[in-house]
Symmetry: C2
């Protein structure tokens, strides 16, 4: 074991359970004698470079437990994607503060940061254990069965569509809900878990794993509407045409790009509004409404999966155990071992870093706008206990008297 301090940091988009991982890593670290102090970096790698650390050894266990139950990144996050030079700065600060253990909770980009910092430490022959702790509502980390944060966001999406379905039954029409997910459709597909009865929505689910054709979309909607009198659609924000161009950029006046060169898809209702106006114009259906589920998907207080909480806590704990008892750096990965149980492994950073997982074909229906039973079976246990259920009145029709 290395002597020295521990640094924990959080990167990328917040989730409902990312603090569970942070607290898991902090509490487990505080048990080890060779750990001098446990620091938290404020706003991820930016906080490391700025030497903005909180001493979490001085935090009470009780408050840590309360923070663990609070959504979003309590240490703050960042969208900055460190290049080699940036990672060298990170390493310089870690060295100056005599850090022996670096834990970074995040997605693809964060795992790549851990990889570069880890390589810098090796080059300098400095004893630094670097562990990536998985997190992303997009569920797009390779190797993992799923990633912490996704189950709670999926639960929010399922509950949202369950409610929207009831609303749409009461006041029928077309409803289009846009869900987060740039390249991976897992979160959009989760809308299917809001269904109970055969005729419940969402009736159509469009994923970024398939090409989106506007005319096919409109005729799909019209077919469902003509047959049932209503239609609920779940659409991924990342839907794109055959050339790979996002549908949203076809309309956006100004395309905003982030530091990673990605087009800004969230924080705007433009895609939903575009799709609504296309359906109105081309189908002639009058009542067409659109919502963009937006930031509530990852931040809503009071909608969380207990399975997600438990696993997020465990990957934090396991990260510290791998760091202390193991001989290598790596990324903690989640592997399914039963229906439902999981186990954890430490996977080489190179196998995870910077790679993107998308929905396997076995999860997507042949028609391209629905999910399979395989997917339902995959996701259901992740949503956890106490999923709300929807009931309806039985159809005891009264005979007409006037019969006009």
């Amino acid at each position: 074991m290395f002597k020295g301090k521990v640094v924990v940091a959080q990167g990328g988009g917040p989730t409902a359970v990312i603090n569970q991982s942070m607290v898991g890593a902090v509490l487990e670290s505080r048990k080890f004698r060779n750990v001098e102090l446990v620091y938290g970096a404020v706003h991820g790698v930016r906080g490391i470079v700025d030497e903005h650390f909180l001493d979490l050894t001085q935090e009470t266990t009780h408050n840590l437990e309360m923070v663990a139950e609070t959504p979003s990144s309590a240490l703050g996050s960042t969208r900055e994607k460190p290049d080699l030079k940036y990672c060298q700065e990170i390493f310089k600060v870690l060295k100056a503060h005599e850090i022996g253990y670096f834990f970074y909770i995040g997605g693809n980009d964060s795992s790549d940061t851990v990889r570069i910092v880890s390589e810098e430490a090796a080059k300098a022959d400095y004893g630094l254990r670097c562990i990536h702790i998985p997190k992303t509502i997009d569920n797009d980390l390779v190797v993992n069965d799923h990633t912490p944060g996704f189950p709670s966001a999926a639960r929010f999406v399922a509950q949202a569509f369950s409610g929207v379905n009831l609303d749409n039954q009461a006041l029928p029409g077309v409803y289009i809900g846009v869900v987060m997910g740039r390249h991976a459709g897992f979160l959009t597909a989760a809308s299917a878990l809001g269904k109970k009865f055969q005729d419940d929505g969402p009736h159509l689910i469009y994923l970024p794993e398939r090409t989106f054709d506007v005319d096919t979309f409109v005729s799909d909607v019209k077919e469902v509407y003509d047959r049932t009198g209503r239609c609920i659609v779940a659409v991924s924000e990342g839907i794109h045409d055959a050339s790979g161009e996002p549908i949203i950029t076809k309309l956006a006046e100004e395309v905003e790009r982030d530091a990673h060169g990605n087009v800004q898809l969230s924080g705007t209702g433009a895609l939903a509004d575009l799709l609504v106006s296309v359906v109105k114009k081309k189908s002639g259906i009058k009542r067409v409404r659109g919502d963009t589920l937006g930031y509530l998907q990852r931040s809503f207080v009071g909608c969380v999966s207990d399975v997600d909480q438990r696993e997020a806590r465990e990957v934090g704990e396991k990260a510290v155990q791998y760091a202390m008892w193991g001989q290598t750096n790596g990324s903690v990965t989640i592997h399914r071992t039963g229906f439902y149980s999981v186990d954890y492994q430490l996977t080489p950073l190179l196998d995870v870093a910077g790679k993107t997982r998308t929905m396997p074909d076995s999860f997507i229906a042949a028609n391209g706008h629905d999910v399979t039973t395989d997917f339902l079976m995959y996701l259901r246990p992740l949503l956890g206990r106490g999923m709300p259920d929807a009931y309806r009145l039985r159809d005891n029709r009264v005979a007409k008297v006037l019969n006009r």
Copy 2:
């Protein structure tokens, strides 16, 4: 007491607890010997005119209890606003089916329908008891302290802004959330109940009770952002300029109007997107995001106030009791009698029908973009038990070593 059947119907926008009122009225009606059968009209007044009734006397008590816990209108709803001729059709069907009691759960417009039907029955000297049962997430019925459906929607808005605040702390910037409410700002104001710490958002709250000036709005946002590095804004969909023109119509290409002549404000992200682009352009702030809370506010499954559930059930029960034991038609109204307790009264339909209540001045801060402590005290008990709480890490700063 009249002999005859009971009809229960649901009108207007669904809520999280409107089925509680329906089930309260149905179960209470089934206790009375003079009630022959209990019908539910499918899709409100439209179902009455079409003679589309369900026999709820054949429904199990158990399923009714499960439906009561399910959001949205289980009988279906309608946006149709009956005129005199339509109400005469309603009356004709009620008479043909030997209905003695008509219970209509809804808002302003529904209470007006009850009033007209009641007058038609009186003219025809037909023994029909007509009771309006209050419901609206807008909380805009006069006489009432508050209306069933509002507390649960308010709870959703408070939980949403609590989460959005945590998200915005992790990744700072400007966030604009658009909340339902055409004329009354109660639901938008509920965002203030998501605050815990002094510096929590929403930092600015814009209500339809005050004139919205775009330039003042931008400078308000800039002031908060320059001071704190972030800014969360709650905006009512009904904000308007000094002439009363909704801000959204200033941009909408096509203004969609409903049967009541109202401009379509919900089901579009246009207002949030407009405000986001105005802030970006005029303030130069880079990270500006907008969400429209949309239909989730009234339909999300799994976010409900137990106080709201109880009261919604009681107004349904009380409606039947007033109908059976009393001598007059009317609207059931809610009156606060303690901190926190309520009692119910039967108020003449003319005192409620077609009138709109807005936020009293005592609930709006003098600066016009915040709420008062009076409002917080008014709303807090309505949100019910088990409101999620947000915790943060204490600021135990580590001294810098490199100090660059």
